[in-house]
Amino acid sequence: MNEEHPQVSPSLYFFLIFTPLMSFTLLCYPITFAQSIGTDSYLGIPAALLFALPAILLGRYFERRFSGKTVIEYAPLILGKFFGLIYNLVYLIFLFIILFVLFRELTGLVNHFLLLHTPLWAVTILIAGSVAYLSFYGLSSTARLATFLLPAGIFIFFMIGLGFQNWSIQNAVPLLKQPVSTYLFGGFKSLYIFFPLILIYQAPAFSAEKRKNTPLTLAALVLTGAIYFFNLLGIMGVFGPENCIRYNWPTLEYVRTINFPYLLLDQIGLTLIIAWLVLAYATGAILTFFLSSGISQLWQKLSFKKVILLLVPVYFFSLISFPSYDLLRDLFGYFQYAGLTVLLGLPALLWLVSLITGRRGGSI
């Protein structure tokens, strides 16, 4: 483990996992569920949860065998120096891609709703700079920030609840009309909602109370799943699958259906955007920290702070070189499969190699 960072308490660890899970695809995930499953697409959430569980088990295995080590440290121990390096590069590149998707989602939303005439580069500079600042002071402060933003998460949950105002059961039934395989496939295809879970290959090394890591990760996953389920249930009941897939951000549109006659602001959706933005920033900071920490572990001459500074222009140029938001949606399929590989496939391979070669680290 990188000695530069203090260990975080269990509550901070929980928010390190929960905040990215909760915010990563909150606004857009209903589209893939609606496309794959239909009216009762919310039943795909438990299926996605089911597919995410092996990742937690794998994370637990590595955490117990290589206690206090991140994937950057134990992958070379299992695969050897060269293949370990390749493994870690793939892992870090994917972490970067998750960040990229998040930031592109963020810039798209801001450009679409809040700063309609501001050039993309200006929004991008603001995002890259502020996320770098948020993560610059290390894991503890980043985790504290994520924890402090808990009210934003509660507020989102509250908004989702209020969205049931226009809910109609006709839009959300029939239940289990599709064969079970459809729900399983829909859940598997939509597993990307839990991609930030790849942090379980890095974050446990920074936790002060290792034995609580797995229960806390599981709690974060189940809580996120519950919120996503509840939200999707509401969206299906309000829009139905056909209308849902017409929107770029169905969750946002769902919240915008809330009607308060005496509300000062015309667009209630704005409050959701604000709440999501702050969570997305915290997520960006957490992921940036782990990305820079991973890179600094790989190239030990670079401190994580230097890496963060180097990442700012990388974020900037990669985001402005990707001007079309629709292109992101077109390429999303590749992202889904790449993520499945990094979240489940490669760690499973690592586990197998570990079992076969007997490179199992310390005792449990």
Partner: protein, 492 residues
């Protein structure tokens, strides 16, 4: 070498240049004594009555010198006595208000502390007024301030440790804590930081606050300051450490978290429903004070589409003809209100109030009529300024004032988005802060549910079984059972 001779060679020449030094050579029963003190710092009549008269009486009946240990027994009425063996110590003591008596053949000097300076009466602190609660605040007298706290906490575990800071002012500074409650690490850290200070003078506790804070460049107060002894006592009972400085009515309390920035002791004097309401009002007030002008700039200047059409039209109508863009208008109005506010604070009481009325009613109204500023902007600026003072004390409001301008700039640049980003940056900065090893955002982050239960909602006293873990007290248990046995039966 005898003390007197040593003193006369090494220290007396420097002291003799002092205009107000009193140097008396006394011969009692053929023994030469020298008495030194600073005029005005020592009560001359008491010195004669309680020091010189007993000595005179002694020598009327005795021929030889008293034994070393008997000297101080001769003068039992003197308020505080001490034996000095080094001339430098005696010199410092004279400058601090001690009277020093030395005899020809002795290798020590006697010191008597009979101060004669005026002490301000106990009054309610202007910056922390309360409806219910004690009406006494600290004064500039350190000893008196210690007594005020001692009158609250009559526990032998209450420790008062002192030191002197300031090469020239030699300001007495004491730390107060409860030995069995305050964390050892915290006490050690406070002392370490205080002892590390090398400065020529400490004129107010604000000096120490700035010098021992965890992060010197932050605008957030990382040490709590208060004029209220009950607030200090409450902090000591939570396992925190108080620092009292001579000549300063402001005590410092460490550590502090954001949770303390909207709480007052009065919350616990008024019952939990009202306490909770007051905390809610303060929280809302502080948030409005910081965000309202920024939100106004964002909604009127950048994101007009987010306002209901009728409201937007009303504001636009009232702003028609205003020669400044919204951000300049808000900044100008806010600066003007700040200037008048500052002026009102410095002016003598009744005059300050009058100026407030003149500014608020006459000047504001005239400025709107003249078309320099619009009435909504004035409403926002004044509301924000008033809301600033809903917090428990002045130092907190200073931080909010600065943050308000930061958010106005963010809102002017990027509208609501800028407001959010700049707000998150402020939070991120706050997340990096620690106060003596305690997270500044505690108990929100890290989440400490038990401590948080006495946060925005004031916890009933009968449920406050434990001290907040935030300050890592040595003993978490705050109270046993508070049930009144048989009460319910009786009521029935």
């Amino acid at each position: 070498m005898p003390f007197k001779k040593d003193f006369e060679e090494r220290s007396l020449p420097a002291l003799q240049s002092l205009w107000d030094l009193v140097e008396k050579d006394i011969i009692l029963n053929q023994i030469e004594l020298k008495l030194l003190y600073i005029k005005g710092l020592v009560k001359g009549a008491d010195l004669t009555e309680f020091v010189l008269s007993p000595l005179e009486r002694y020598f009327q009946t005795h021929t030889g010198l008293p034994q070393n240990s008997d000297w101080l027994k001769l003068i039992p009425s003197a308020s505080e006595t001490k034996v000095f063996t080094a001339p430098e110590e005696a010199t410092s003591a004279i400058l601090a208000g001690w009277s020093i008596l030395m005899a020809e053949s002795f290798d020590f000097a006697l010191g008597f502390f009979i101060p004669d300076w005026s002490v301000r009466q106990l009054t309610e602190p202007d910056s922390e007024r309360m409806v219910r609660g004690p009406r006494e605040g600290f004064t500039e007298d350190l000893q008196g301030n210690i007594v005020l706290v001692r009158r609250w906490i009559k526990d032998p575990q209450l420790r008062v440790t002192g030191m002197t800071i300031g090469l020239r002012t030699k300001t007495p500074v004491v730390t107060m804590y409860l030995e069995d409650l305050a964390s050892r690490q915290l006490v050690t850290e406070v002392r370490r930081r205080l002892e590390a200070i090398e400065i020529d003078g400490v004129l107010e506790s604000g000096y120490l606050e700035e010098l021992i804070t965890d992060r010197r460049l932050t605008i957030f107060p990382l040490i709590q300051s208060t004029e209220r002894p009950d607030k200090v006592s409450a902090a000591l009972l939570e396992g925190r450490v108080a620092i009292l400085v001579d000549k300063s009515p402001f005590a410092l309390i460490a550590p502090v978290t954001v949770n303390e920035l909207y709480q007052t002791p009065e919350d616990y004097y008024l019952g939990y429903w009202l306490g909770t309401l007051l905390r809610g009002i303060r929280l809302l007030g502080n948030n409005l004070a910081v965000t309202l002008p920024g939100l106004y700039v964002a909604l009127i200047g950048v994101n007009q589409e987010l306002l209901p059409t009728r409201l937007l039209l009303t504001v636009a109508g009232l702003r028609a003809g205003i020669p400044f863009p919204i951000v300049i208008e808000v900044l100008l109005t806010s600066f003007a209100v700040e200037i008048f506010n500052e002026t009102g604070l410095r002016l003598p009481g009744p005059l300050g109030g009058s100026i407030g009325v003149v500014v608020g009613v006459v000047l504001g109204f005239t400025a709107v009529q003249a078309g320099f500023i619009s009435s909504p902007t004035l409403v926002i600026a004044v509301s924000s300024t008033i809301a600033l003072y809903s917090g428990p004390n002045f130092s907190v409001s200073i931080a909010w004032r600065i943050l308000k301008y930061f958010l106005i700039i963010g809102a002017a640049l990027f509208g609501i988005y800028g407001l959010v980003i700049f707000g998150v940056l402020i939070l991120a900065h706050a997340a990096t802060l620690q106060s003596f090893g305690t997270s500044y955002l505690a108990p929100w982050a890290p989440l400490q549910l038990d401590a948080l239960s006495d946060g925005p909602v004031r916890k009933p006293l009968w449920l406050r079984k434990k001290r907040p873990v935030t300050y890592r007290p040595e003993d978490l248990s705050r109270q046993g059972t508070t049930k009144q046995e048989g009460r319910n039966k009786k009521n029935e």
